[in-house]
Amino acid sequence: MRVSLVTPDATYYDGEARSVVLEASDGSMGILPGHAPLIAALGHGVAEVDDGQETHRVAVYGGFVKVQDDVVSVLAGGAARREGDADSARAALEEARAALARAREAGSPTAIAEASERVKRAQAFLALF
């Protein structure tokens, strides 16, 4: 089956694959060839695309997946490949959590939403390691 994993400004995977594991909004979801047509909202987590030789792991930050006629399109709200080391990813998560705590204290709903999005992204990114 054909799998594409894209954000609005970049392509992270485009090609044939044997299986895809995605983090849907309510839990992990595996897609194999011959899957029924599906539209699902994605949560924050690691997507694993198995092309038969290796498994490509990409952190996906929300978005949608559409499966139709053995074509899997992952439309991510944002994505990242593994980069740097686990320690700096952990530090980023700590910082995001601190920012969230500060935003909660300040009490602005938009700032809280923004900071919690950052925490979710940092968590998904850390899960790559």
């Binding site: 609005p8 309510d26 599906l38 539209i39 006629d69 439309l75 709200g77 944002g78």
Partner: protein
């Protein structure tokens, strides 16, 4: 005629300027190509999202569309995002767009609405300062020829936040729309409230009529409602992302044209100066011959 050395210096300076404008023209050509490719690259994403929107809406059933971002309120305060460039030397790109923004603002003020301006691009910020028009925040200057989605998202989040909190009742954007490689013009569009899912019904129905037996019955996880809830903010962000992509492309095309005109002009001026130079040189030689002849005669 001027003296020879003066003309020579002017020829040199025109040639140097022409070299610069030609290089800028080439750079702008390359960048505009890259920008157009980015628009093309983003299109499948937009289409796929539209299709998801259409399917989810169908599954949710008509008339059930309710979302804070769709809410049409009585418009008292309007935020206008003005997207122009950080740099000049691009013909009428900035001026045309800013003029439209000014007209739009004045029209809204005449209707008794309050206007909050959000300039993007140094040229816009400076123009507002120069005309003593107040604006919100510091303006955005981070966008160059390759606007990143994450950067646009930050701007979008701010505007969406303002809309949701009720600080503004409408969000408009003024930018240079990329109609085609040959035509770009400034336009005003409304970003929020979202115009609903226009066009999606078409894609969904054309798929049904065209597909015949292979109308897909999508499994929708977790439910259509939840899909639409996350989809609407993303649509607003993508709208702005498209705005920035198109504005960047239009800027490069404008710059290419402006620099092409400058180069052509420079070559023309160079030719005229060269002719002046030759004429001056010739008349100087003639003068010298006459002097020599005169001197010889005096001696004879």
């Amino acid at each position: 005629m001027g003296n020879l050395r003066d003309i020579k210096r002017r020829i040199k300076s025109v040639q140097n300027t022409t070299k610069i404008t030609r290089t800028m023209e080439l750079i702008a050509t390359a960048k505009s190509q890259a920008c157009m490719n980015r628009i093309r690259g983003a299109l499948p994403y937009f289409h796929a999202l539209d299709e998801i929107a259409g399917q989810a809406q169908q599954a949710a059933g008509e008339g059930e569309l309710e979302h804070p971002l769709l809410e049409q309120r009585e418009v008292r305060r309007v935020a206008i995002l003005v997207v122009v460039a950080n740099r000049g030397l691009c013909g009428g790109y900035n001026t045309n767009c800013l003029r439209l923004a000014r007209d739009h603002r004045e029209r809204l003020l005449a209707e008794g609405k309050e206007v909050l301006l959000h300039p993007s691009g140094k040229k816009g910020i400076n123009w507002l300062k120069f005309n003593r028009i107040p604006y919100e925040g510091d303006g955005y200057t981070q966008f160059e020829d390759k606007p990143a989605f994450a950067e646009v998202e930050a701007v979008a989040d701010e505007l969406i936040g303002a809309f949701l909190s009720g600080a503004v009742d409408r969000v408009d954007v003024v930018y240079t729309h990329y109609f085609s490689a040959g035509r770009q013009a400034p336009v005003v569009e409304t970003v929020l409230p979202l115009a609903g899912l226009e066009g999606d019904a078409d894609t969904a129905s054309s798929e049904q009529s065209g597909g015949g037996a292979r109308v897909a019955n999508f499994i929708i996880e977790p439910n259509p409602r939840a899909i639409l809830d996350t989809l609407f903010p993303l649509q607003a962000k993508l709208h702005l992302f498209r705005v920035y992509l198109e504005a960047a492309t239009a800027e490069q095309i404008y710059r290419r044209v402006a620099m092409k005109n400058a180069t052509d002009n420079g070559i023309e001026v160079g030719k005229t100066l060269k002719m002046d130079y030759n004429r001056a040189r010739q008349s100087q030689i003639t003068n010298e011959i006459l002097e020599v002849l005169g001197g010889a005669e005096a001696l004879a």
